[in-house]
Every structure is written in structure tokens, then in C-alpha cells.
Amino acid sequence: MHTLKLGKFEFNSRFILGSGKFSLELIEAAIKEANVEIITLALRRAHTGKLENILDYIPKNITILPNTSGARTAEEALKIAQLARELCGAEMIKIEVIRDSKYLLPDNYESIKAVELLAKEGFTPLPYMYPDLYAARAMRDAGAAAIMPLGAPIGTNKGLRTKDFIQILLDELDLPIIVDAGLGSPAQACEAMQMGVSAVMINTAIALSSNIPQMARAFKLAIEAGREGFLAGIAGQSKLARASSPLTGFLRD
């Protein structure tokens, strides 16, 4: 009942580990401490050469989520997805279509097209996106298994800067929402989970910590706490006073 469903895939953990900024031993340490079941892999880096192979550092029971980073158009994303399928048999693909090398903000227009192309080819697409309701609906209609809005620009650790817009997506879309990019502390991950997002993705915040295993554990606990809090139903905050003996209790009919 409480598993994370992404298309036909199911997971117990709601902690997705990004791998772009780690060194391989550190990925290993983070996986061990955090019970993650999904780890992203930039296909452009998939081979680390003859001297080392990233796949040796990822246990067999972990699902590899290749991303299309490097793609600037939907067609390029499709080509990269096809390469990923050849290389590691992946069906679930994180779509990243970025045409700005400075801010690395996702291009929603191209990403919608990419979702369409990949879904037609039988992939389970998870698009990284800017939290825009129209784009999110279009991605859903095109076959996205979840959407991955950013909390803040990649690597900034600024937290849920887009909170209000993610809330709109949560209210309007019946589709798993995974917060990707920007979460910088366990508290921020907890906050996202309390809102009701289905999972979060963390990379920089752990990779740059001085104690990686401990930080990975901290995120794991925060994500679980946030999820529990959400399921238990957070008592809503209200600006309006609500007396414990109501003023309107006299009304009949």
C-alpha cells in the first residue's frame, strides 16, 4: 500500500540517489547507509574507462536510472535512452533536456516532446522539469510515469524555492511527483515529503558533505519522517483563529 509506483515498477524506498557529483567509493558508502533502491547514472559517464567501472560499485539489487543529460533536443534524448537500453537494459529513463549550460534549467517544451517519443518507444519516462502546471499535464498526457520538478536550481542546496508551485502540481495531478535538484539538507527533504511528494532525489547535498555515510543516513531518516508525517496528516496551519469551543456551535439546520 505504501510502495512507490513508477509505471510498472515498484519500490519501498523513496530516496533516489543522484550520482553525478560523487566519487565511486562514496556512492558505495551512501548506498549502504541509506537503503536507496534507485540510483541515477549519467549515460555520458557510464563507462569510467578501463581503470574503473561505475557498475562495479552499484549492487545488483539497485535499479539504475539512466538520465539523458547532455541532450539538447527531444530527439537527442531518445537516442541517449536507446543507448542506455542497449548498455544496461534500462526501461525507466530520467529525461533531462537542457539547453542552457549556465543554469542547467530543464527545457519543458522539449521535455514534453521527449516524453512523447520515449513513451512511444516503450520506455517509462520520468522527466526533470520546471514546476509548471501546463507542462506537467502535457507530460502526464504524453506518458510520463512521474514528473520530477526542481526544488531550486541544480547544486544550489537552496531547498524548496518552488514550494508553492509544487503544491499546485500535488493538488492538481494524480501522478507521482519527485522533487529533483536543489534540496540541500535533511530538513528540506523532510519538508518536501511532508507536502506529499512521492520521493526526492539527492546528490550534491550528500556528495559535498564531509561525512558522506552519515549524511546519507540523515537524509534517509528525514525522508522517512516526512513521509510518516504526511501519511499521519499534518494538522493544517491556519491564520484564522479556531477556538476549541466553536463560536458557531449554536446553529441548527
Binding site: 562514496l26 563507462h47 543507448l83 549550460s101 542547467l104 556528495a207
Partner: protein, 383 residues
């Protein structure tokens, strides 16, 4: 032999009417490095994103008192954007024939050096030897002059390189858009062009003749490469030729203005210093000490946090090992600047002396010890 102005194009050279050069030169000519105070440096260091004025302050002599702070901020930004990754590549010299005369270079026409050009079979042998070390990115180089290494020859070399490597770049003479298109079609994604100096008068003096002499044609090379569909472009001034603060400023602004016009462009910056060459062992980077070089690199990082910074083997191992933890994100490894040396005996002389002769495996294990991750490829060729 031409003694025309360096601003005069030759008939085969395409003009693209770009505004970037004008913008860069205007900024550089109004830059007076002595005018900056420590207060301005501090203000720049504390700002969230560095303005052009801030960049000028960080390059100025006043900033040299804040080297530690510069390094601290630069390191934070490098980690934020690149994490622990350090990309590795190696240059492959295809030919050292050259029809230009640049006074700082050992390959210049007329220098009595052993000249050579790799045949197709030799290119394959070299590439095989490099690929065997585990590298997946190669940078192809030639001297200047289409007579010796035609565009078709370079395109063919790119095509062969695609069989052995995931990422192919070139550092060759500058070309027209359609010529870059041919390279791109054959698998080349990155074009690096060193402007050497952005001071046109100085440029005129040290580029005695040859195609390289045409200053704006060279300057607009990166833009033509981007118009041809290349993924990224590299920039560099040879520090020590002219007032290095101005050249560093111009390099950073060249990249900055181009990025504004081509937001998808992946940038990379290098900051080579002058090195002794064959026939002139006395050439040196003068006032560009390691400390000033670090200052320049930190200013680059703070101004363009997302850009790759490449440190070549011109610098000593001890400097390179530290700089990759502060600003550099890409280093060469297993370098040979002679022709044909990777796979067998060298048949052509070197362009300059290198200072770090470590193999790929040695660089790899140095990175591991420093808890950094060697990245062999950070790109995928998708046409």
C-alpha cells in the same frame, strides 16, 4: 608574405559580423588594474554573482592580498557545480608542419625542427595506444596551414577518432562555418582556440605572418564553430605575452559574451603560461607567477562557475595536483607533445616542454588518493 594589418581578412576567410569582439575590446581598453581597491575586491568576493566590474577587481593587483579568500570561494563554487569530478583527456598531435610564424612557438615556419605528419595508419596506431590507457577523450592538434593538414584530413582524423573515443575535440587552425560543419559531421564536438593575446598591437608584433595573423578571424573562430553546431568551445590566452590581467579579462569576457548569445554552449577556459621552446629556451612567463596564475584561475571560476577549467601539462605536477581541488575540472594526462610518440618512436619534435610527464594510470591514482573522481567522458555524441 603579408605585412597587412592584423584586422584585414584574407580572401578565403568568412566574416560573420559579430559584436562580441567590439564588446570585449571596449571593456579591456577601459580596464585600469591599478584603480581597484581592496574594498572593491572584498565587495566582489561577497557578491552572489560576479559582475564584470567585480571580475576586473578580482583580476587586479589589489586582489592578490586575498588569494586565500579567492581560493576558498572558487573551491566552493567548483564543488557546487562539478562535485568531485575531474575530466581527463589527452592531446594528439597529428602534424607539426606550420605555415605561420609566431615568435613564441617552436613549430613556427623556418624553425629547424623535425617535421612530421601522421598517416591514417599512424593515426590509428596512436589512437589505439591512447585508448589502451583508458582515456575516452582526445584533442586533435595540428600546426597552422591547410597545405599540410587539410580540412578533409582533419575531418578524417575525427572520424577515425570516433571509433576509439567518446569525445573528440580539435585545436587546429581556425575555419569557416562550413568547414567546422564538416568536422562536426565527422564526430567533432569541441573546438578550442587560443587567442594568445587580445592586445591587437602586441598580436601584430608576435604573429609575423601566416593565417594566424588575422586577429578578428581568429577571435570569431569559436562563434563560427558554434554556428556549425559544435557543443562546446574553449578559450585561452597565453599568459605572459602581454599584460596578463588584461588578457585574462578578455578571455573571460570572450566566453561570457558568447555564452549570452549561445546559451547552450559549453565553455572551457585554459590559462597556459609561456614556456621555453626549441630554439628559444629563455622564453618565460615573466610576472605570471604561480600565485598570479592561481588568482586568474579563481577569478575565472567565480565569474563563470559552470565553465570547465583546463590545466595543461605545462604546469608542474605539484601545482596541478592542488589546483584540481580548487578550480580545475579537466586535466590532460599521459601527454606527449611530439609526433607519433604514443605508439612508437617519435618522428617529429615537440612544440614546447611539458612539466608533468605522468601516465594516465599515475594521474588516475593521484586523483583517487585525493578522493576525486576521474571522469573519462562527459559527453555523448548524438549527431
Amino acid at each position: 608574405m603579408s605585412k597587412k594589418s592584423v584586422f584585414e581578412y584574407e580572401s578565403n576567410m568568412q566574416e560573420i559580423h559579430s559584436k562580441v569582439l567590439q564588446n570585449v575590446l571596449a571593456q579591456v581598453s577601459s580596464y585600469h588594474k591599478e584603480n581597484y581597491t581592496q574594498a572593491e575586491v572584498l565587495k566582489a568576493l561577497q557578491s552572489e554573482s560576479l559582475s564584470i566590474e567585480g571580475l576586473k577587481a578580482l583580476l587586479s593587483p589589489a586582489a592578490s592580498a586575498f588569494l586565500e579568500e579567492l581560493a576558498f570561494k572558487a573551491r566552493m563554487l567548483t564543488k557546487r557545480h562539478f562535485g568531485n569530478s575531474i575530466a581527463l583527456f589527452t592531446p594528439l598531435y597529428l602534424s607539426n608542419y606550420c605555415e605561420s610564424k609566431c615568435v613564441y612557438c617552436g613549430f613556427q615556419k623556418g624553425n629547424a625542427i623535425a617535421r612530421a605528419k601522421l598517416s591514417e595508419a599512424e593515426i590509428r596506431a596512436e589512437m589505439q595506444a591512447i585508448a589502451d590507457t583508458g582515456l575516452q577523450e582526445v584533442l586533435l592538434l595540428t600546426g597552422e596551414g591547410r597545405e599540410h593538414a587539410s580540412v578533409e584530413y582533419i575531418a578524417q582524423a575525427c572520424k577515425i577518432a570516433k571509433e576509439y573515443f567518446k569525445v573528440v575535440g580539435v585545436e587546429v587552425y581556425v575555419m569557416n562555418v562550413d568547414e567546422y560543419e564538416l568536422l562536426h559531421k565527422n564526430g567533432c564536438e569541441f573546438v578550442t582556440i587560443y587567442q594568445e593575446t587580445y592586445n591587437a598591437q602586441k598580436y601584430e608584433k608576435i604573429h609575423i605572418f601566416g593565417e594566424k595573423r588575422v586577429f578578428p578571424y581568429r577571435f570569431n573562430g569559436q562563434e563560427r564553430a558554434l554556428k556549425a553546431g559544435m557543443r562546446g568551445v574553449g578559450f585561452g590566452a597565453l599568459l605572459g605575452i602581454d599584460e596578463f590581467e588584461k588578457d585574462a579579462l578578455a578571455t573571460a569576457l570572450h566566453a561570457y559574451f558568447l555564452q549570452k548569445a549561445y546559451p547552450h554552449a559549453e565553455l572551457s577556459l585554459s590559462a597556459p603560461r609561456l614556456r621555453p621552446i626549441l630554439g628559444n629556451r629563455k622564453i618565460s612567463p615573466k610576472d605570471v607567477t604561480e600565485a598570479r596564475l592561481l588568482q586568474v584561475l579563481c577569478a575565472y571560476r567565480i565569474f563563470l562557475p559552470f565553465a570547465n577549467i583546463v590545466v595543461s601539462t605545462r604546469e608542474r605536477a605539484g601545482f596541478r595536483d592542488k589546483i584540481i581541488d580548487i578550480v580545475a575540472t579537466k586535466i590532460s594526462a599521459g601527454v606527449s607533445v611530439g609526433i607519433g610518440e604514443h605508439s612508437g618512436e617519435k618522428k617529429g619534435d615537440d612544440q614546447f616542454q611539458i612539466s608533468d610527464e605522468r601516465s594516465v594510470a599515475e594521474v588516475f591514482s593521484m586523483l583517487k588518493k585525493a578522493k576525486l573522481q576521474a571522469v573519462m567522458s562527459d559527453s555523448i555524441y548524438v549527431g
